[in-house]
Structure formats: C-alpha cells, structure tokens
Symmetry: C2
Subunit: 190 residues, 2 copies
C-alpha cells in the first residue's frame, strides 16, 4: 500500500474517535467521520467495513505485532521471558506516548455494552495468536494456552493501571511490575 | 421462593437450550420456549427478561457461588490455595455431572458472535467478583486483580479441556492439573 492510503486510514481513525467522544458512538455516522477527515464516504469504505471496525482497527493489528516480536525472541528463552519481552515491546511500540488517545478510546468503549463485549472478543483473539506463537516455539498445548492467558492478563492489568495513573510511569514499566507481582503470587512460599 | 417457581425456572432453561440446539438461537421465540416447558409466556417473563437471559442465567449465578466459597476459606490460606479450593468447589457443585448440558450450552454460544461476546463479558463479571473476594481478604489491589484473572484463567482453560476430553476425568481434577501447570510456568527455574 502506498503512502496516501495509510494517511487516510490514520485520519479516519482519529476523526472517528473524536466524533465518538464528542457526540457518542451511536449518534455518529460514517458520512460524518469521512467529512471530519476531509475524505469521501467511498474512501472510508475502502478501509473499513463499518464505524465499529474503524474503532477496533488499532486493536486488530496487535496479534500480528505480538507474533513478530515472539518470533524474534531467542529459542532458549523461557515462557516468562518471552512474555516479558513481547509485552514490553508491544507497550513501547504501540502504546507508550499515546496515552491521551488511548484514554479517549477506552472511554468510548466503556460507554457502550456492545463495544465492551467486542473489545473482550478482540482480547480473546489476541490471546489465541499468542498461544499459536508459543506452540510454534514447541510448547505443549496446555502450557501455550496458559502462557497466552498470562501474557494477556499481565498486559491488560498493566494497561488499566497505566491509564488510571496520574504519574509519568511508562506502560512498559507497569508491564514489568505486574509480571513481578504475578510471579510472587504464583510462586509457593518457601 | 417456593418449590414450583424454581422448578419452572429449571424447566425453562432446559427447554430453551433444547430449542436453541435443535433450531438455532435466532430462530427460537419466547412463546416456543414456554410451550416446550409446558408453561405460559407470562411465567417465562416472571423469570427472565428475554431469551438471551435464560441462556446466561446459569452463568450469572457463578459470581455469588464463588464469593461464598471464598468467604469460607480460612484467613491464613494463600491466594493460590484460595484459588485452588474455590475453583475446585465451583467445578464440583455447578459443573461435574452436567457435562452433556454444558457441551450443548457451549455449542449454542459458539455458533453466535453476539452470544460469544456476551459470554466473555460474563466471565469478566466473574473475574470482578473474585477480585472483590480477594480484596475482602485484605489483598492489595494489584494482587487481588491478578489473583482473580488467574482464577478465571485456570477455570476456563480447565473447562475447555474437560469439555474437549473423551475420558471420564472430572472438571475438578482438570482444575488441579491446570493450576499445577500454571505454577510450573510462572516459577522461575532454580
């Protein structure tokens, strides 16, 4: 894809989010989104099936990003190391520096039951992609499934804490802290 | 509540599930469910808001069941012990012995995107209830949230494996096995 279509996609995402925040998801139409982005409705539909898809386009990219990062991790790394490296990389490349955008995004999702459920479904798709990544590394099915759930838990708990915090701590630091807390929880006392 | 209303509720749940399996969720109407149960539509609406609620009534009870079990666990128990005891108790009291019913239930949910998303949302409500249970036991917010996610992960992974298995292993044994696998995953190698 050339340079302009990518630009159009990003502009449509930003325009949609701004309108959802201003006037609500249900009240916003595709022609309004296209107009705000300075584009035609036809261009909108070249990029997205509907206004719900434009909202989840960002989240839809995450499985591919994570799979790439996991494939780069050395084969000798433990599951916990892979979770740590890949979730911190995801935080750094796709989240850190975009906190205001993500806060607005979260507010739109939280305001609509259908969107909340769709968001949970997208998290489950991410979990399945991570599970495949662990199976590709040779883990058995149970271990890969649990590792994937653990990765998603660590990331989503860290994300909630990062979005709720008032300080400047990065999401990748929250990911490290959350993983450490999970380890102390699941390690039997000596 | 007296004996008959409870009986009506259970009969409506069984009738609804049978019809959803036979002819699909979208194609089934409330009057059909009531007729199959030998009851009136009016009785249906005394128990459930709509046909979706009758499907999720069973799952909706789980948070209360779990909270009760957690409150019974000794105060000295570690988070892992509480997860183990409460998830095994949930398995024994609400799931073991009902595998055929739950397989049919799962097939109906899996066949409809809206139902899948609603099911995920119900799991998130269960996770929130477990988190409150851990906070009531004096855990800090991060620990309680992670313990709740861990409990739900262990239970739902064990449930999937139990439903997919061809042998007679009980769900409570799958819960124990899954918890052990999670511990070996998150314990750093010596």
């Amino acid at each position: 894809m050339g340079r302009w279509p990518e630009g159009a996609r990003t502009r449509l995402e930003a325009a949609a989010l701004a309108l959802f925040v201003e006037q609500g998801f249900a009240e916003t139409t595709v022609p309004q989104i296209a107009a705000r982005a300075g584009l035609t409705t036809r261009t909108f539909f070249r990029h997205f099936a509907d206004k719900r898809e434009v909202l989840f386009a960002y989240q839809a990219e995450l499985p591919d990003v994570v799979r790439e990062v996991m494939a780069d991790a050395p084969q000798s790394a433990s599951a916990l190391e892979v979770i740590s490296v890949s979730m911190r990389k995801l935080a750094e490349t796709k989240f850190d520096g975009r906190r205001d955008y993500l806060l607005a995004y979260q507010a739109v999702i939280d305001a609509d039951a259908g969107l909340r459920e769709r968001g949970l479904r997208k998290m489950s798709i991410l979990s399945e992609a991570i599970g495949r990544g662990f199976r590709d590394r040779g883990m058995d099915d149970l271990g890969a499934t649990l590792a994937a759930h653990t990765a998603v838990t660590v990331f989503s708990v860290a994300l909630d804490r990062w979005l709720a915090a008032v300080d400047e701590t990065s999401l990748s630091v929250h990911v490290s802290d959350t993983l450490a807390a999970l380890q102390s929880l699941t390690t039997p006392e000596a």
